[in-house]
Symmetry: C2
Subunit: 147 residues, 2 copies
DNA sequence: CCATCATGGTCAACCAGGCTGACCATTTCT
DNA sequence: AGAAATGGTCAGCCTGGTTGACCATGATGG
């Protein structure tokens, strides 16, 4: 019987919580106070281009109605605009505004800052090793809240 | 300028989401269908002994009222009992029931199963390396939802 | 070519799980 | 003894999800 290693799961959880908290913190500090983590994940999909609310829903594994509300918020706050698809008048493709792009940029910087702080503890090759290991897990599918 | 590594944060997030989903899944399969992840984290503190609802609140970084509700659920579902502290009649120390202990055991097994599945991809030393790296991050404090 | 079905989106009602504020009983401090 | 602090509960509210129903548009097949 192998030694108990369920603690690895807890460590990953703790790291994820710290990552989200850190990113959120950095983002707020750079002036984006009206975005939640879920908005950030929506940005990921929207930035890829030609995303509808339904695409966002699938990306976040939430209902289309919930995604609709979320997009409403992004529109209200000036991060996103609903455009039109001339070839299908039902679709409302989403597009980042100037501010939306600024926010995604800030979010990337915020994430990088968190990883940099990890690098202080792990060293550059530690971070590389960590990334390699996580990549090998090959996790795909929608982005889900940890809990 | 260093290469962009914000993606490490995303990888950690994905791993955490997968871990929680996997644990939850395994737990349900072993018959515990009325526990959420938050309950599991509460168990962690309660299992340490002499925990009050307030301790749970601090452990999960939620309000004492929210912790109270959460404990109510655990009591209703038969996982926990509220005892008395003879030396302070305000405190209601919590104690795991038989079923509570069974559930924490199942949760550990569920977590271990998830890590085992990771081991299939990373190999035994990969898992060890991952744990070492995460431990070096030295994250403490309350358990926070990733988002 | 039209009828039917599928798809993208919105509206409404509801629920779960957080929050704050107020309060009570008890303990601790001065 | 009186005042402040502490553990707990109650009540009301808000946010972010859910499902069900529905509309407009597009795709499909007799």
């Amino acid at each position: 019987m192998e030694p108990a290693r369920g603690d690895v799961a807890m460590l990953v959880l703790a790291a994820a919580g710290a990552a989200v908290a850190g990113i959120q913190d950095n983002l707020q500090r750079s002036g984006f106070r009206d975005v939640r983590p879920a908005h950030g994940f929506a940005f990921v999909r929207i930035a890829q281009g030609d995303a509808t609310a339904l695409d966002v829903a699938e990306h976040l594994a939430i209902s289309k109605q919930a995604a609709g509300k979320l997009v409403d918020q992004l529109v209200d706050r000036g991060y996103v605009v609903r455009t039109h698809d001339p070839s299908d008048r039902r679709r409302r493709p989403l597009q980042l505004t100037q501010r939306g792009r600024a926010c995604t940029g800030a979010a990337e910087a915020a994430a990088q800052q968190v990883v940099n702080s990890w690098q202080d503890r792990l060293g550059a090759d530690g971070v590389v090793a960590l990334r390699n290991l996580l990549q090998q897990l090959d996790l795909s599918g929608p982005i889900r809240p940890a809990w």
